[in-house]
């Protein structure tokens, strides 16, 4: 699994790595079946220590707290892409009704 964008990274770049901590089927005991069937995964960010790498390659990074860890290069210059979502028409219906109700109360 990788995320689009810049496909390589060089030493010192801010990158995001991904690794599998537990394989599917080798998860902790007592967890729901659907969770046990998928791997236990980790994502973290840091500066690339390795000289140069392509997305998916095994790399070493230094995190902002100074920890060194290895994983597969997942994203270079990782960005945030959460936003205000798509328009939800029901919300303006609520707004319209509240205006009417308050109009009646304050009349």
């Amino acid at each position: 699994m990788t995320k689009g964008g810049i496909m390589t990274a060089k030493k010192g770049d801010w990158v995001r790595i991904h690794s599998i901590l537990m394989e599917a089927g080798a998860r902790a005991p007592g967890i729901p079946d659907d969770t046990a069937k998928v791997p236990y995964e980790l994502w973290d960010k840091g500066f690339l220590i390795s000289d140069k790498a392509d997305i998916g390659e095994k790399v070493k990074i230094e995190t902002i707290t100074g920890r060194k860890l290895t994983g597969n290069l997942f994203e270079t210059n990782p960005s945030y892409d959460h936003n205000f979502g798509e328009f939800v028409p029901e919300i303006v219906m609520i707004d319209k009704q509240l205006k009417v109700l308050m109009g009646e109360i304050t009349k």
């Binding site: 998860r27 902790a28 998928v38 791997p39 960010k45 902002i64 707290t65 205000f84 798509e86 009704q97």
Partner: protein, 471 residues
């Protein structure tokens, strides 16, 4: 890997002791009972000390708003003479945008005092941002461990926003896929770094919330001349309720009704990869609220300082659609854009006000910041994209994980009361199970008194409950 997992879990208590600096065995009696008040006293801080600690980093003293328009709307739906005045304590104005700054302030102060170089917290919510913000102020390193993505790499927008905020405050964010192994990763990080475990459930964390209850009482006396009649508290892990109730009692507001409120997520499994993105609330829901109320020691420390059933007078649930509706109403009618989870208590207060007298007061005890990922539009469109049916109608018809029903009229917003005696019996039953597995020890008088304190009931009632449990 599995062996490694079990080995580490085996060292759990040793790692915990080192990383929180508390020897919990000092408060144990050897059976069910442990000395909760002594634990709070010995390792916590006094209310005055906490006020000073929090003032140093700009935490607390948040404004109290009277929600006049929402009160008018509630009165228009209530019988004559009913409709208590609704107030709201704007905890979003804390430095990190939620009341969690209070918990983080004491934990991070304590870590610094003990000489730790950094702090770690396992949280996908506002607490992470709070710890990161406080750590930045006190120049400590910070690592936040989040459960964030399902197996398709799809993340809850609210959790992704929280990661952004933690990183904005200079924290390292370790993001994980769904599963209880998060605790294993958390322990591993504590051992590797030697950082302080800024758990939500330590005595200093909970004592940090006491100032909220205290301020609430003082502000209401200033505004109305009296303590509030009722306070509604969004309930998940129980710390918010425990700390606020203790603060109210310390302020002398011992007649105020303490009402817990959670959003109803019945039927969704919290450790399920499939269910993870079927819910629209990452906290304040029954999936945390009920288990933490009946088994408080399920937290990440040996003895949790969050023990909500000791203080709860009533526990109600509301549906997701109702909370979304009230979040929108708060913005539209009161000019306050807040939420989502803090507004669970707003939805509850709006309904409960309608059965209280007009001259009474009810408090919505917290708010939280909102924005990209947290706002109701991304929340609802995320749900819709995950196959959740969204409609306007009667929220009573909502099925968690399948539908979200926004009320087609505010009169359709209702609360459901949970049976407190059932929760009390469940807590006692779990406590008895623990003792039964440990060499069949006999219950002592101290244990009975402890269970009475744990469930806000008399020893006589506890004995009756035990008879019902063990026929």
């Amino acid at each position: 890997m599995n062996n490694n997992y079990l080995d580490l879990m085996e060292r759990k208590n040793e790692i915990m002791k080192k990383s929180v600096g508390i020897d919990y065995s000092l408060f144990e009696s050897g059976s069910i009972a442990f000395d909760f008040e002594e634990m709070m006293k010995k390792v916590g801080y006094s209310l005055d000390e906490i006020r000073e600690i929090q003032e140093e980093t700009g935490v607390g003293n948040t404004p109290m708003y009277e929600l006049r328009n929402l009160t008018s709307l509630a009165r228009s739906l209530a019988p004559a003479g009913k409709g208590a005045r609704i107030f709201l304590k704007d905890e979003a104005s804390n430095p990190s945008g939620s009341f969690k700054a209070r918990r983080a302030a004491t934990a991070v102060y304590h870590a610094k005092k003990l000489g730790f170089k950094g702090v770690i917290a396992a949280t996908s919510g506002n607490y992470g941002a709070a710890v990161a913000s406080q750590a930045a102020m006190r120049s400590l390193n910070c690592i936040i461990v989040q459960e964030c993505y399902d197996s398709e790499g799809k993340g809850q927008p609210e959790i992704i926003e929280k990661a952004r905020k933690c990183e904005a405050f200079g924290a390292e964010v370790v993001q994980l896929s769904v599963g209880p192994e998060l605790f294993y990763t958390f322990l591993k990080l504590l051992e590797e770094t030697g950082y302080f475990n800024a758990s939500l459930y330590t005595p200093f964390g909970i004592a940090g919330v006491e100032t909220l209850g205290y301020e609430l009482s003082r502000q209401m006396i200033d505004l109305t001349g009296e303590n509030p009649d009722a306070v509604v508290i969004t309930n998940a892990g129980g710390g918010n309720l425990t700390g606020t109730a203790r603060g109210l009692i310390k302020a002398g507001a011992d007649k105020t009704e303490i009402i817990a409120a959670s959003v109803n997520l019945k039927g969704l499994h919290m450790a399920s990869d499939r269910d993870f993105n079927k819910k629209s609330f990452t906290t304040g829901h029954t999936g945390f609220g009920i288990p933490f109320t009946t088994v408080p020691d399920r937290s990440d420390v040996p003895r949790s300082a969050a023990r909500p059933l000791r203080y709860m007078d009533r526990y109600i649930t509301v549906n997701q659609g109702e909370v979304f509706y009230m979040t929108e109403a708060l913005a539209q009618l009161e000019g306050l854009e807040r939420g989502p989870a803090g507004n669970i208590s707003l939805a509850a207060a709006f309904v409960i006000s309608q059965s209280m007298d007009k001259d009474q007061t009810i408090i919505v005890q917290e708010t939280e910041y909102t924005g990209a990922g947290k706002h109701i539009q991304p929340q609802l469109s995320f749900a819709r994209n995950n196959g959740i049916e969204i409609s306007l109608g009667n929220p009573k018809e909502e099925v968690p994980g399948k539908s979200i029903v926004l009320p087609s009229h505010p009169s359709l917003i209702k609360v459901q009361d949970l049976d407190l005696d059932k929760l009390r019996k469940s807590l006692i039953k779990h406590s008895l199970e623990a003792i039964n597995t440990e060499n069949q020890k006999k219950l002592t008088d101290k244990d009975i008194q402890f269970l009475a304190d744990e469930t806000k009931s008399s020893t006589k009632t506890v004995k009756e409950f035990i008879k019902d449990i063990e026929p």
